[in-house]
Amino acid sequence: MSGLGSSFLMEMNVKKVLAKLGLNDVEVEHSTISDVMPGSTDLIVCSADIAEECASAGGVIPLVNLLSGDELEQKLRKYLEERQK
């Protein structure tokens, strides 16, 4: 919510999963809802309860278990597959 604590750990998870998928040129940052605006980023990985607030920026991956690497990996794979179509 202040973009300091849990989002930071999510950033580390996203980086880990991206490295696993072999995507090394993706920029990942963590921040607060105040920074969500159209065009600010390609994809937001966020908590499921604020997914609607984050939708205006572009792609959204809502997580229920914020720290689950498995949930993240599964949803991120699906997102990337759909984007390639």
Binding site: M1, S2, G3, L4, G5, S6, S7, F8, L9, M12, H30, S31, T32, I33, S34, S47, A48, D49, I50, E52, E53, P62, L63, V64, N65, L66, L67
Partner: protein, 468 residues
Amino acid sequence: MFVITWILRFLQQIIAQPALLIGLIAMVGLLVEKKSSTDVIKGSLKTVLGIILIGSGAGIVIAGLTPLNDLLTKTFNITGVIPVNEVMFAQAIAKYGSEMAAIMALAMCANLLLARITKFKFIYLTGHELMWISTLMAIILNIANLPAWEVIVGGGLLTGLYMAIAPSLIYGSVCKVTGSKEIAVGHTGTVYYWFAIAIAKLTGNKEKSCEDVNVPKNLNFLRDLSVSLTLAMWAVYLVVILLAIIFKPTVMAEVFGTDNSFILGLMDSVTFAAGIYIIQAGVRMMIGELVPAFKGISDRFIPNSVPAVDIPVLYPYQPNSVLIGFLVATIGSIVGFGITLLLVHTSWALPIMIPTLFNAFFYGATFGALCNKEGGVRGVVFGSFFGGIVTIILPALLMSVGHIVINNTTFGGGDSAVIGVFFGLLSKALSGQGLFITILVLFLLPILFGRVRNRVPAKSEQAVQGAK
């Protein structure tokens, strides 16, 4: 000879600048981690930048608050206090920055040690909350007049003890929300949550869950702090301006000149929220290198540890309860503010806490998320309401009993308040060496009595007792 004096003076000037000193510490850390040279430059510079942002943000926040306090002082002869961690920290860092950084580094080592050899397996990964507690320790032990090295050692051990033990206070309820034992919560509001959960268990009825109640979803726009803080502050300004116009109309001209006070009140509220935003951006920069390093070490050396993380991990499981908790805690904190107002001229007088909603927001949302599992709708409402009152009363005590206050701000966390009040009272009985030895003994207690290997942290009575 000339060269030596020059070098000494050079070093002296670095130490006199906490921002540079902390940047230097970050650089050493990055070098030890064997990062690439670009990472070392980037990481240490960002740490310094973060501290400068934090300092500037503090100035902006205070600029937004000064007219409000002028109004309060000139109309009612009272001063309002803002119990907001960010603001308190931002002001304290100029004086206690270097000690705070050293305390933090030692505290992380102490946390790792305790997690390794005792049954308290929590690793406190909420970097900014760790900074608040470290700053609090630096202030407390400086007030107690301990020499610098004892401030750092004592503060570091105490903070590490806090990090390992505090999450156990609410671990049981956290597990019920997340449905797993893998995550704990590390946040300086733990005492508030513990209190709210106790109320929810007493008054609640698990049959009727908050998640079945219809809550207007568009209230979620308040989760954007810049928006909600501006609105909340403007509401406070409007009320105070109206009261001032009624009771002492001349004050308006003194504070706002000939300009429209309602518009200036709005501008000051936006300024306040902007300052908070800047402080948080600075904090984000400052801890950017710290948390990954800490997590890396704990993952490697303490594989069975439980990460204690920031409160929003609870929110996606209970989105409705979060909103209800927030709304009810807001009412609770306004009632708490009313209580401090009513007590003004009695012998029970407490400092007056301005309800910025900042606290009601974080703490309230967490009350909702935790209390629903323990007591359904009724539990959330009662837990959040009384919890909201306590979020005002405890910081007031931290200020009046613990004497922790800078420029009418103090820490907002319940844990900070309990620790501050405890030491405020303790330092009346003990001084200097006695206090330092007490800290050492406190740190040794879990090592002597809590040495259980390879066990998931048990939420036993001792754990609850120990964390108080």
